[in-house]
Protein backbone atom coordinates (compact mmCIF):
# COMPACT_ATOMS: atom_id res chain seq x y z
CA UNK A 1 0.00 0.00 0.00
CA UNK A 2 0.97 3.67 -0.34
CA UNK A 3 -0.09 6.77 1.50
CA UNK A 4 0.04 10.36 0.37
CA UNK A 5 0.41 12.48 3.48
CA UNK A 6 -0.25 16.23 3.38
CA UNK A 7 0.42 18.51 6.31
CA UNK A 8 -2.34 21.12 6.43
CA UNK A 9 -0.54 24.15 7.76
CA UNK A 10 -0.57 26.91 5.17
CA UNK A 11 -3.51 29.06 4.12
CA UNK A 12 -2.31 30.31 0.74
CA UNK A 13 0.91 28.49 -0.16
CA UNK A 14 0.85 24.79 -1.15
CA UNK A 15 1.02 22.45 1.83
CA UNK A 16 4.00 20.10 2.16
CA UNK A 17 3.24 16.52 1.19
CA UNK A 18 5.10 13.25 0.88
CA UNK A 19 4.44 9.65 -0.13
CA UNK A 20 5.07 6.65 2.07
CA UNK A 21 5.85 3.19 0.77
CA UNK A 22 4.26 -0.02 1.98
CA UNK A 23 6.16 -0.55 5.24
CA UNK A 24 6.01 3.07 6.44
CA UNK A 25 2.34 3.37 5.42
CA UNK A 26 1.35 0.39 7.55
CA UNK A 27 3.35 1.69 10.48
CA UNK A 28 1.68 5.10 10.15
CA UNK A 29 -1.83 3.67 10.07
CA UNK A 30 -1.03 1.52 13.09
CA UNK A 31 -0.04 4.69 14.92
CA UNK A 32 -3.42 6.22 14.16
CA UNK A 33 -5.24 3.45 16.05
CA UNK A 34 -8.49 4.22 14.37
CA UNK A 35 -11.42 2.70 16.21
CA UNK A 36 -13.99 2.24 13.49
CA UNK A 37 -16.64 1.25 15.96
CA UNK A 38 -16.33 4.50 17.85
CA UNK A 39 -17.80 7.26 15.75
CA UNK A 40 -17.20 10.91 16.51
CA UNK A 41 -20.05 12.79 18.12
CA UNK A 42 -22.12 14.96 15.81
CA UNK A 43 -21.10 18.22 17.44
CA UNK A 44 -17.47 17.85 16.41
CA UNK A 45 -16.44 20.04 13.51
CA UNK A 46 -13.23 19.88 11.50
CA UNK A 47 -10.58 22.49 12.29
CA UNK A 48 -10.95 26.01 10.96
CA UNK A 49 -8.24 28.01 12.71
CA UNK A 50 -5.14 29.50 11.09
CA UNK A 51 -1.79 27.75 11.39
CA UNK A 52 -1.33 24.03 11.70
CA UNK A 53 -4.67 22.22 11.52
CA UNK A 54 -4.04 18.55 10.83
CA UNK A 55 -2.85 15.91 8.42
CA UNK A 56 -4.57 14.59 5.31
CA UNK A 57 -3.93 10.92 4.65
CA UNK A 58 -4.89 9.45 1.30
CA UNK A 59 -4.56 5.79 0.42
CA UNK A 60 -3.27 5.88 -3.15
CA UNK A 61 -2.60 2.18 -3.79
CA UNK A 62 -4.10 -1.07 -2.49
CA UNK A 63 -6.37 0.71 -0.04
CA UNK A 64 -7.30 -1.12 3.13
CA UNK A 65 -10.96 -1.16 4.01
CA UNK A 66 -10.68 -0.55 7.74
CA UNK A 67 -9.60 3.04 7.10
CA UNK A 68 -11.35 5.70 5.00
CA UNK A 69 -9.67 6.14 1.64
CA UNK A 70 -9.10 9.76 2.54
CA UNK A 71 -9.12 11.02 6.09
CA UNK A 72 -8.20 14.19 7.89
CA UNK A 73 -6.34 13.55 11.11
CA UNK A 74 -6.71 16.27 13.70
CA UNK A 75 -6.22 15.68 17.42
CA UNK A 76 -8.58 13.01 18.70
CA UNK A 77 -10.48 12.70 15.44
CA UNK A 78 -10.15 11.31 11.95
CA UNK A 79 -12.59 12.97 9.56
CA UNK A 80 -13.56 10.81 6.59
CA UNK A 81 -15.60 12.01 3.62
CA UNK A 82 -18.74 10.36 5.01
CA UNK A 83 -18.01 9.48 8.61
CA UNK A 84 -15.74 10.71 11.34
CA UNK A 85 -14.09 8.64 14.04
CA UNK A 86 -12.37 8.98 17.36
CA UNK A 87 -8.80 7.79 17.52
CA UNK A 88 -6.94 6.59 20.55
CA UNK A 89 -3.46 7.88 19.79
CA UNK A 90 -3.17 11.65 20.17
CA UNK A 91 0.43 11.57 18.95
CA UNK A 92 -0.29 10.09 15.52
CA UNK A 93 0.16 13.48 13.87
CA UNK A 94 3.63 13.99 15.35
CA UNK A 95 4.73 10.79 13.62
CA UNK A 96 4.60 12.73 10.31
CA UNK A 97 7.51 14.86 11.52
CA UNK A 98 9.75 11.84 10.90
CA UNK A 99 9.21 12.09 7.15
CA UNK A 100 9.69 15.76 6.34
CA UNK A 101 12.84 14.89 4.43
CA UNK A 102 10.59 13.12 1.91
CA UNK A 103 8.75 16.35 0.99
CA UNK A 104 9.34 17.16 -2.68
CA UNK A 105 6.48 19.44 -3.71
CA UNK A 106 7.85 22.51 -1.94
CA UNK A 107 11.19 23.58 -0.53
CA UNK A 108 11.16 23.52 3.24
CA UNK A 109 13.37 25.91 5.16
CA UNK A 110 15.78 24.33 7.67
CA UNK A 111 13.82 25.55 10.68
CA UNK A 112 10.48 24.26 9.37
CA UNK A 113 10.50 21.03 11.47
CA UNK A 114 11.03 23.04 14.65
CA UNK A 115 8.28 25.47 13.62
CA UNK A 116 5.90 22.61 12.86
CA UNK A 117 6.53 20.87 16.18
CA UNK A 118 5.82 24.12 18.02
CA UNK A 119 2.64 24.60 16.00
CA UNK A 120 1.46 21.08 16.81
CA UNK A 121 2.10 21.73 20.51
CA UNK A 122 0.25 25.06 20.34
CA UNK A 123 -2.75 23.53 18.61
CA UNK A 124 -2.99 20.69 21.13
CA UNK A 125 -3.63 23.32 23.81
CA UNK A 126 -5.97 25.29 21.51
CA UNK A 127 -8.13 22.26 20.76
CA UNK A 128 -8.86 21.72 24.43
CA UNK A 129 -10.04 25.31 24.73
CA UNK A 130 -12.43 25.35 21.77
CA UNK A 131 -16.08 24.94 22.79
CA UNK A 132 -17.62 23.45 19.65
CA UNK A 133 -21.13 23.59 21.08
CA UNK A 134 -20.81 27.34 21.56
CA UNK A 135 -19.57 27.84 18.00
CA UNK A 136 -22.38 25.81 16.45
CA UNK A 137 -25.00 27.77 18.38
CA UNK A 138 -23.55 31.17 17.46
CA UNK A 139 -23.32 30.58 13.74
CA UNK A 140 -26.84 31.38 12.48
CA UNK A 141 -27.92 34.26 14.75
CA UNK A 142 -24.92 36.39 13.72
CA UNK A 143 -25.51 35.91 10.02
CA UNK A 144 -29.25 36.70 10.03
CA UNK A 145 -28.58 40.27 11.19
CA UNK A 146 -26.90 41.08 7.88
CA UNK A 147 -29.97 40.92 5.62
CA UNK A 148 -32.82 38.65 4.55
CA UNK A 149 -30.63 36.99 1.90
CA UNK A 150 -27.37 37.10 3.75
CA UNK A 151 -25.66 34.70 1.35
CA UNK A 152 -26.48 36.93 -1.64
CA UNK A 153 -24.27 39.61 -3.19
CA UNK A 154 -24.63 43.22 -2.17
CA UNK A 155 -25.94 45.69 -4.75
CA UNK A 156 -22.84 47.70 -5.71
CA UNK A 157 -23.61 49.39 -9.03
CA UNK A 158 -20.58 51.68 -8.95
CA UNK A 159 -18.23 48.74 -9.28
CA UNK A 160 -20.05 47.34 -12.32
CA UNK A 161 -20.84 50.69 -13.93
CA UNK A 162 -17.30 51.91 -14.56
CA UNK A 163 -18.10 53.03 -18.10
CA UNK A 164 -15.11 50.99 -19.15
CA UNK A 165 -13.68 47.48 -19.12
CA UNK A 166 -16.07 46.05 -16.52
CA UNK A 167 -19.34 47.60 -17.70
CA UNK A 168 -18.92 47.04 -21.41
CA UNK A 169 -17.48 43.54 -21.24
CA UNK A 170 -19.73 41.91 -18.68
CA UNK A 171 -23.36 41.16 -19.41
CA UNK A 172 -26.50 40.14 -17.54
CA UNK A 173 -25.18 36.61 -17.05
CA UNK A 174 -21.90 37.86 -15.55
CA UNK A 175 -23.75 40.26 -13.28
CA UNK A 176 -26.45 37.90 -12.07
CA UNK A 177 -23.91 35.25 -11.12
CA UNK A 178 -21.58 37.94 -9.71
CA UNK A 179 -18.79 36.54 -11.87
CA UNK A 180 -16.68 38.90 -13.90
CA UNK A 181 -15.04 37.43 -17.01
CA UNK A 182 -14.75 40.46 -19.31
CA UNK A 183 -15.98 38.19 -22.11
CA UNK A 184 -19.71 38.96 -22.14
CA UNK A 185 -20.19 35.43 -20.81
CA UNK A 186 -22.52 33.06 -22.63
CA UNK A 187 -24.40 30.23 -20.91
CA UNK A 188 -22.66 26.95 -21.62
CA UNK A 189 -19.55 28.50 -23.17
CA UNK A 190 -17.28 27.37 -20.33
CA UNK A 191 -18.73 23.89 -20.12
CA UNK A 192 -18.94 23.02 -23.79
CA UNK A 193 -22.71 23.21 -23.90
CA UNK A 194 -23.21 26.62 -25.52
CA UNK A 195 -26.72 27.96 -25.87
CA UNK A 196 -28.09 28.05 -29.41
CA UNK A 197 -29.12 31.09 -31.41
CA UNK A 198 -31.78 32.35 -31.99
CA UNK A 199 -33.03 32.20 -28.43
CA UNK A 200 -36.37 30.66 -29.24
CA UNK A 201 -37.26 29.00 -25.95
CA UNK A 202 -36.03 28.37 -22.42
CA UNK A 203 -35.76 24.62 -22.82
CA UNK A 204 -33.92 22.31 -25.16
CA UNK A 205 -35.46 20.74 -28.21
CA UNK A 206 -34.12 18.75 -31.13
CA UNK A 207 -30.99 20.51 -32.35
CA UNK A 208 -31.49 23.41 -29.95
CA UNK A 209 -29.71 24.11 -26.66
CA UNK A 210 -31.72 26.45 -24.52
CA UNK A 211 -30.14 28.94 -22.12
CA UNK A 212 -31.51 27.03 -19.15
CA UNK A 213 -29.65 23.77 -19.72
CA UNK A 214 -26.59 25.71 -20.85
CA UNK A 215 -26.51 27.52 -17.51
CA UNK A 216 -26.99 24.28 -15.61
CA UNK A 217 -24.01 22.97 -17.49
CA UNK A 218 -22.01 25.93 -16.11
CA UNK A 219 -22.94 24.88 -12.59
CA UNK A 220 -26.09 26.87 -11.85
CA UNK A 221 -28.81 24.84 -10.14
CA UNK A 222 -32.30 24.92 -11.58
CA UNK A 223 -34.79 25.67 -8.79
CA UNK A 224 -38.11 26.25 -10.55
CA UNK A 225 -40.05 26.08 -7.29
CA UNK A 226 -37.90 28.61 -5.44
CA UNK A 227 -40.86 31.02 -5.43
CA UNK A 228 -38.66 34.08 -4.90
CA UNK A 229 -37.18 32.77 -1.66
CA UNK A 230 -33.51 33.19 -0.76
CA UNK A 231 -31.55 29.93 -0.83
CA UNK A 232 -29.07 29.13 1.90
CA UNK A 233 -26.30 28.85 0.89
CA UNK A 234 -26.00 30.64 -2.44
CA UNK A 235 -28.13 33.28 -4.08
CA UNK A 236 -31.14 33.29 -6.37
CA UNK A 237 -31.15 34.33 -10.02
CA UNK A 238 -33.92 34.36 -12.59
CA UNK A 239 -33.76 33.61 -16.31
CA UNK A 240 -36.09 35.27 -18.82
CA UNK A 241 -36.06 35.36 -22.59
CA UNK A 242 -37.22 37.58 -25.42
CA UNK A 243 -38.16 35.08 -28.13
CA UNK A 244 -38.21 35.93 -31.83
CA UNK A 245 -39.31 38.08 -33.53
CA UNK A 246 -37.69 40.21 -30.79
CA UNK A 247 -34.26 41.63 -31.54
CA UNK A 248 -34.55 41.23 -35.27
CA UNK A 249 -35.31 37.53 -34.96
CA UNK A 250 -32.31 36.69 -32.76
CA UNK A 251 -34.25 36.75 -29.54
CA UNK A 252 -32.20 37.24 -26.38
CA UNK A 253 -31.90 36.04 -22.83
CA UNK A 254 -31.66 38.11 -19.67
CA UNK A 255 -30.85 37.40 -16.04
CA UNK A 256 -31.75 38.99 -12.72
CA UNK A 257 -30.26 38.42 -9.31
CA UNK A 258 -31.78 38.64 -5.83
CA UNK A 259 -29.55 40.66 -3.60
CA UNK A 260 -28.57 40.76 0.01
CA UNK A 261 -31.48 43.07 0.88
CA UNK A 262 -34.03 40.86 -0.87
CA UNK A 263 -34.48 43.18 -3.86
CA UNK A 264 -33.70 42.17 -7.43
CA UNK A 265 -31.20 43.90 -9.69
CA UNK A 266 -29.93 43.33 -13.20
CA UNK A 267 -27.52 44.55 -15.84
CA UNK A 268 -28.81 44.84 -19.40
CA UNK A 269 -25.81 43.77 -21.44
CA UNK A 270 -23.26 46.55 -21.70
CA UNK A 271 -25.60 48.94 -19.95
CA UNK A 272 -25.47 49.87 -16.31
CA UNK A 273 -26.47 47.59 -13.46
CA UNK A 274 -29.74 48.82 -12.00
CA UNK A 275 -32.37 47.96 -9.44
CA UNK A 276 -35.19 49.29 -11.62
CA UNK A 277 -37.37 47.58 -14.17
CA UNK A 278 -38.44 48.98 -17.53
CA UNK A 279 -41.09 51.10 -15.83
CA UNK A 280 -38.63 52.57 -13.35
CA UNK A 281 -39.89 50.51 -10.40
CA UNK A 282 -37.88 48.64 -7.77
CA UNK A 283 -37.95 44.93 -8.55
CA UNK A 284 -39.38 42.78 -5.80
CA UNK A 285 -40.19 39.81 -8.00
CA UNK A 286 -38.96 39.47 -11.61
CA UNK A 287 -42.06 37.45 -12.47
CA UNK A 288 -44.17 40.57 -11.97
CA UNK A 289 -41.72 43.23 -13.08
CA UNK A 290 -41.86 45.12 -16.36
CA UNK A 291 -39.32 43.17 -18.38
CA UNK A 292 -39.74 44.97 -21.68
CA UNK A 293 -39.37 42.50 -24.55
CA UNK A 294 -38.24 39.70 -22.22
CA UNK A 295 -41.75 38.41 -21.93
CA UNK A 296 -41.09 34.78 -21.05
CA UNK A 297 -40.14 33.88 -17.50
CA UNK A 298 -38.11 30.65 -17.64
CA UNK A 299 -37.08 29.72 -14.14
CA UNK A 300 -35.34 30.54 -10.92
CA UNK A 301 -31.85 29.18 -10.41
CA UNK A 302 -29.47 28.96 -7.50
CA UNK A 303 -25.84 30.09 -7.69
CA UNK A 304 -23.42 28.53 -5.26
CA UNK A 305 -20.39 30.77 -5.01
CA UNK A 306 -17.25 29.12 -6.28
CA UNK A 307 -19.18 26.25 -7.86
CA UNK A 308 -19.76 27.78 -11.28
CA UNK A 309 -17.54 28.56 -14.22
CA UNK A 310 -18.38 31.15 -16.84
CA UNK A 311 -16.65 32.16 -20.02
Amino acid sequence: MKLKVTIDVFSGLPNPSFTLGDKDSKTFLNKVKLQSGIKAKENVISPFHLGYRGIIIEQTEEAVSDFPKTMYLSGKFAFGTEESFEILNNDAESYALNFLDKVRNIELKPDFPVFLQKEMDRVKILRDKIDYNKILKLKWPILTKVGPCYCAPVYEPKWWNDAGQIQYNNNCYNYSTNYRTDTFAQPGQASGHLRSVPISSCDDSAGYTGPKSAAVSDGLIDTPNADNKCPRPGHLVALVIAPPPAFGGYGDFHWYRKGNNGHWTHKPGGGQATNLDSSGNIILDPRNADRGPYTVFCTFMKVLHGHIKLQ
Binding site: G164, Y168, A242, Y250, F253, H254, P268, G270, G271, P293
Partner: protein, 112 residues
Protein backbone atom coordinates in the same frame (compact mmCIF):
# COMPACT_ATOMS: atom_id res chain seq x y z
CA UNK B 1 -2.61 58.16 -34.71
CA UNK B 2 -1.29 55.05 -36.42
CA UNK B 3 -3.38 53.42 -39.11
CA UNK B 4 -2.43 49.98 -37.88
CA UNK B 5 -3.99 50.42 -34.47
CA UNK B 6 -7.62 49.41 -34.62
CA UNK B 7 -10.39 51.10 -32.76
CA UNK B 8 -13.23 48.92 -31.49
CA UNK B 9 -16.89 49.78 -31.94
CA UNK B 10 -19.90 48.11 -30.45
CA UNK B 11 -23.64 48.63 -30.64
CA UNK B 12 -25.25 47.97 -27.27
CA UNK B 13 -28.37 46.01 -28.13
CA UNK B 14 -28.56 42.71 -26.34
CA UNK B 15 -28.58 41.87 -22.70
CA UNK B 16 -27.26 38.34 -22.98
CA UNK B 17 -26.16 37.63 -26.53
CA UNK B 18 -22.97 39.27 -27.76
CA UNK B 19 -23.47 42.71 -29.23
CA UNK B 20 -22.40 43.50 -32.78
CA UNK B 21 -18.78 44.59 -32.74
CA UNK B 22 -16.47 45.83 -35.48
CA UNK B 23 -13.14 47.61 -35.89
CA UNK B 24 -12.28 50.86 -37.60
CA UNK B 25 -9.04 52.56 -38.47
CA UNK B 26 -7.56 55.50 -36.66
CA UNK B 27 -8.42 57.85 -39.51
CA UNK B 28 -12.05 56.67 -39.47
CA UNK B 29 -12.12 57.23 -35.70
CA UNK B 30 -10.67 60.68 -36.15
CA UNK B 31 -13.47 61.61 -38.51
CA UNK B 32 -16.12 60.34 -36.11
CA UNK B 33 -14.54 62.10 -33.14
CA UNK B 34 -14.44 65.38 -35.04
CA UNK B 35 -18.23 65.42 -34.78
CA UNK B 36 -18.02 65.73 -31.03
CA UNK B 37 -18.00 69.10 -29.30
CA UNK B 38 -15.26 68.50 -26.75
CA UNK B 39 -14.98 72.20 -25.90
CA UNK B 40 -18.17 72.08 -23.86
CA UNK B 41 -17.68 69.11 -21.63
CA UNK B 42 -19.14 68.60 -18.21
CA UNK B 43 -19.00 66.01 -15.46
CA UNK B 44 -22.38 67.06 -14.19
CA UNK B 45 -24.62 64.98 -16.39
CA UNK B 46 -26.18 61.55 -16.73
CA UNK B 47 -26.53 59.21 -19.64
CA UNK B 48 -30.08 58.12 -20.22
CA UNK B 49 -30.14 54.40 -19.65
CA UNK B 50 -32.55 52.10 -21.39
CA UNK B 51 -32.98 48.76 -19.70
CA UNK B 52 -34.04 46.94 -22.81
CA UNK B 53 -33.25 47.18 -26.48
CA UNK B 54 -30.73 49.46 -28.13
CA UNK B 55 -28.94 51.61 -25.59
CA UNK B 56 -26.29 53.34 -27.58
CA UNK B 57 -22.91 52.54 -29.01
CA UNK B 58 -19.37 52.48 -27.74
CA UNK B 59 -16.06 53.44 -29.29
CA UNK B 60 -12.86 52.24 -27.64
CA UNK B 61 -9.43 53.56 -28.56
CA UNK B 62 -6.26 51.44 -28.52
CA UNK B 63 -5.24 53.48 -25.49
CA UNK B 64 -8.30 52.40 -23.53
CA UNK B 65 -10.46 55.53 -23.79
CA UNK B 66 -14.19 54.82 -24.11
CA UNK B 67 -16.87 56.97 -25.74
CA UNK B 68 -20.44 55.85 -25.19
CA UNK B 69 -23.08 57.67 -27.17
CA UNK B 70 -26.81 57.53 -26.67
CA UNK B 71 -29.61 59.91 -27.51
CA UNK B 72 -27.63 63.12 -27.74
CA UNK B 73 -25.10 62.56 -24.95
CA UNK B 74 -21.64 61.04 -25.04
CA UNK B 75 -20.10 59.71 -21.86
CA UNK B 76 -16.33 59.63 -22.02
CA UNK B 77 -14.10 57.52 -19.81
CA UNK B 78 -10.54 58.69 -20.29
CA UNK B 79 -8.72 56.08 -18.20
CA UNK B 80 -10.92 56.66 -15.19
CA UNK B 81 -11.70 60.32 -15.74
CA UNK B 82 -15.40 60.56 -16.62
CA UNK B 83 -17.05 63.49 -18.38
CA UNK B 84 -19.89 64.17 -20.80
CA UNK B 85 -20.24 65.92 -24.13
CA UNK B 86 -23.33 66.97 -26.00
CA UNK B 87 -23.83 65.07 -29.24
CA UNK B 88 -25.79 67.57 -31.29
CA UNK B 89 -28.30 65.86 -33.54
CA UNK B 90 -26.79 62.51 -32.44
CA UNK B 91 -24.19 63.09 -35.13
CA UNK B 92 -21.39 61.24 -33.35
CA UNK B 93 -23.69 58.33 -32.60
CA UNK B 94 -24.96 58.09 -36.16
CA UNK B 95 -21.47 58.25 -37.62
CA UNK B 96 -20.30 55.53 -35.28
CA UNK B 97 -23.22 53.24 -36.09
CA UNK B 98 -22.78 54.08 -39.74
CA UNK B 99 -19.22 52.79 -39.67
CA UNK B 100 -20.46 49.23 -39.11
CA UNK B 101 -19.92 46.87 -42.04
CA UNK B 102 -23.06 45.99 -43.95
CA UNK B 103 -25.13 43.28 -42.36
CA UNK B 104 -23.49 43.34 -38.95
CA UNK B 105 -26.45 45.12 -37.37
CA UNK B 106 -29.95 44.14 -38.39
CA UNK B 107 -31.68 47.36 -39.40
CA UNK B 108 -34.69 46.93 -37.17
CA UNK B 109 -32.58 46.56 -34.04
CA UNK B 110 -31.90 50.27 -33.78
CA UNK B 111 -34.18 53.19 -33.15
CA UNK B 112 -32.01 56.10 -34.27
Amino acid sequence: MEEKEKWICRALIFSGLKDPEWKITASEAEEILSALDTENKTDDFALEEDVSGYRGCVLKSPGGVYWRAFNGVVKVNDNGKIFFCIDVGRKFEKLLIGSAPAGIIAGNLLNI
